[in-house]
């Protein structure tokens, strides 16, 4: 099974709302037509519902199953004790020698990769030292074979260890109750993610102090000012727009900007685009006053290009405050905004000549 098909099998759902599944339609078999029609009429999209707790300004999911649902079906949120996918439970079980042996988590893969890389660098340093010695004697580089070996070492994939090393710390007593590890990790969601799941997909229930919030109450919490250029609403327009195009949108604070766009999701592809949200006002004076700075953008671009992504300036046209106040529903408010993209990258004369 290729990597792509296995990933597709592992993550079959792009959203927590699934299209209806119909039986196969066999053209020369009328009974299958009837069955198909019945199924079509009777079935509705399935929704993986989750409960999000809102406490102290944070949105979090507690139940391990729901955490995995939100991660697997659209890659929403981030494990509070993991890099992105909530893997703390698996990792800790492995460390304590509990439960079954599971596949490696991304954090573990990264550690293994780093070790391989260190090994490679050690070997390279040794070879360079040898080379230098020979060079001082006037011999230039006879190490063709060694170099090939080194190259192989560089390109080698990690080997997955089949044995696990357990390692128990004194404070682990609190974590294990009757031989079972308790899960203390949560999946934390960004405000944009919660709003999208609630407003667009209707697949979450936001609970605060045991009371469920309605869509409008949630909006009141996230956007109390109702001002047209509030950072929440401007970012939400962008988030909703790219999500509705099918991109997986995640925070890009690690790279100094607003959003990252993944094709399908982090396990499938590296993020290709980094979005920098820029408000665009109708008022020229305000626009000129809030214009971006060339130095800042050049710097941001160097960071983004350094991690092999493409910088996209997403201009969001801001409506006037009167238009916002007049608009009724949240949907009407959203459609007052509009979006356009400008791609920015460095241009080097020496590399564009031919």
């Amino acid at each position: 099974m290729s990597k792509r098909t296995s990933l597709n099998a592992k993550y079959p759902h792009a959203l927590p709302v699934h299209p209806i599944a119909l039986p196969e339609l066999i053209l020369h078999n009328p009974i299958s037509w009837i069955w198909f029609t019945i199924c079509y009429i009777k079935s509705f999209p399935t929704v993986s519902r989750t409960v999000v707790q809102f406490k102290d300004g944070c949105f979090a999911v507690d139940s391990p199953e729901e955490m995995m649902t939100l991660w697997n079906e659209g890659f929403f949120g981030k494990g509070t004790m993991s890099r992105s996918e909530p893997t703390w439970y698996d990792r800790t079980q492995k460390r304590l020698g509990l439960g079954e042996f599971k596949n490696l988590t991304i954090e573990e893969i990264t550690i293994l990769r780093r070790e391989e890389r260190k090994k490679f660098k050690r070997e390279r340093a040794q070879l360079e030292k040898k080379q230098k010695e020979l060079k001082s004697m006037g011999i230039v580089d006879p190490f063709i074979e060694e170099r090939l070996k080194l190259k192989e070492l560089r390109d080698k994939d990690i080997t997955i260890p089949l044995e696990r090393e357990t390692f128990i710390r004194p404070e682990d007593d609190v974590l294990v109750v009757k031989g079972h590890l308790i899960n203390i990790e949560q999946l934390q969601l960004q405000p944009c993610e919660v709003m999208f799941l609630e407003f667009a997909l209707q697949s979450v229930t936001v609970v605060t102090d045991g009371v469920a919030l309605s869509s409008n109450q949630l909006l009141e919490v996230l956007w109390p000012t109702k001002s047209a250029d509030d950072s929440f609403i401007v970012k939400y327009v962008v988030y909703h727009y790219y999500r509705s195009l099918g991109w997986c949108v995640r925070s890009a604070i690690k790279f100094g900007t607003d959003f990252l766009l993944y094709n399908r999701g982090p396990p499938f592809h590296h993020a290709e685009f980094a979005l920098h949200v820029v408000p665009n006002y109708n008022d020229t004076q305000k626009n000129t006053a809030t214009a971006q700075d060339f130095t800042m953008l050049s710097g941001l671009n160097r960071v983004i290009a350094g991690v092999r992504k493409n910088l996209v300036l997403v201009f969001v046209d801001i409506p006037t405050q009167e238009e916002i106040d007049k608009a009724g529903s949240f949907q009407d408010i959203l459609s007052l905004y509009s979006i356009s993209e400008v791609l920015l990258r460095r241009w080097v004369p020496n590399r564009n000549r031919d």
């Binding site: 509705f44 399935t46 560089r154 209707q202 909703h240 050049s298 460095r346």
Partner: protein, 347 residues
């Protein structure tokens, strides 16, 4: 040295490899002059130095016959009609080649022409300094001009062309696909998004779900910018067939910006530029329908209607490429329908 083979690094500003000065194939090198005090390295360094001094020690001169004179008269620079530079520079009128300010400074700097000031019928030979004093009215513009020229490009002042608008031809397959989409009868039973009945819609594919929650933005405002930006130069890649009489569409168009006094353009200014920019291959960008694979990736990354900005910070130049993106045309929705048993987590 071992890194040279192992890790492909890209270098843009390398030291001139003087030892290859006479050989035809100038190669890009690796920055590897960390001093290791070996005899080999020292002699390589010394060799390079010797080659450089040798190359520089040759007297650089031309014969009287080849000497080109450029005259400054009545606020204009004109040169005699000889020399290779004429192929790409200046405008020929009445047996003289008229040059712009940046062209004359560049030619004098290179020693290609001899500048002469004609005043009251008297001819005075000028030095570089006085040419600067007379012509460098826009130093930032000259810096960008000479940088691009020295990189081998053909550069001329921007001249607006008549924009040839290209209309997208109707493709039968796209029409067919559009009809098919309408015929996708099973997708008709979809309730409006953001209502409670939406979840009762008969979604058969993920694209129908995504499509239904897409926002309908109102048409964008198209106000003309209060301060439109100027395109300064048309730039061509080096081409021996280039004729300045009937130049082809430029390869790039460039806007010069002094970063100490200018901020990033507003969206109106950019839109206005994107509308005006004209270069080779521009009309094909929007026609490309490449879906999937490397071609689509390139199309998404390159965008359309690109314009270059030369950012100048007190003599240091950095180029920035801006273009219109169209990420909405990317094909990122999984096409596979969810078939067979699905997990029922609905409560």
């Amino acid at each position: 040295m071992s890194q040279e083979l192992l890790i492909e690094t890209e270098l843009e500003d390398e030291v001139q490899p003087w030892e290859y000065l006479n050989s035809a194939n100038l190669k890009r090198g690796q920055k590897d002059f960390e001093k290791d005090d070996t005899q080999i390295q020292n002699s390589t360094l010394q060799d390079s130095l010797d080659h450089m001094y040798n190359a520089l020690s040759v007297p650089r001169a031309h014969t009287v016959k080849q000497n080109v004179k450029a005259y400054y008269q009545d606020g204009q620079w004109r040169s005699e009609l000889k020399g290779n530079f004429m192929q790409t520079m200046g405008v020929v009128r009445n047996d003289w080649c008229y040059l712009t300010e940046e062209e004359i400074i560049y030619l004098v700097e290179r020693g290609t022409v001899e500048p002469i000031w004609v005043k009251n019928g008297q001819e005075v030979t000028m030095d570089l300094q006085s040419v600067y004093a007379m012509c460098a009215t826009d130093l930032v513009r000259y810096q960008v001009y000479s940088n691009l020229k020295r990189c081998g490009y053909i550069v001329q002042r921007y001249t607006p062309r008549e924009c040839a608008t290209v209309r997208k031809p109707w493709y039968l397959p796209t029409m067919f696909r559009a009809v098919l989409r309408r015929l996708d009868i099973l997708n008709w039973f979809i309730f409006p998004a953001f209502t409670s009945s939406w979840l009762k819609s008969k979604f058969l594919t993920y694209s129908s779900i995504f499509e239904s929650i897409r926002l309908q933005f109102k048409p964008q405002r198209q106000a003309a910018p209060t301060y439109p930006l100027d395109i300064t130069f048309d730039v061509w890649k080096p081409d021996p067939r280039f004729t300045k009489k009937s130049p082809p569409l430029p390869d790039f168009q460039i806007v010069i910006v002094d970063v100490s006094s200018t901020r990033f353009p507003t969206k109106n200014q950019l839109d206005d530029l994107f509308k005006r920019v004209e270069y080779q291959g521009r009309s094909q960008e929007s026609l490309s329908e490449a879906q999937g694979g490397a071609k689509e990736k390139k199309r998404l990354k390159d965008g359309s209607n690109c314009v270059l900005f030369a950012l100048v910070d007190n003599g240091v130049i950095n180029y920035m490429r801006l273009s219109q993106g169209n990420l909405s045309s990317a094909n990122v929705i999984p096409t596979k329908k969810a078939r067979g048993p699905t997990q029922r987590t609905t409560k």
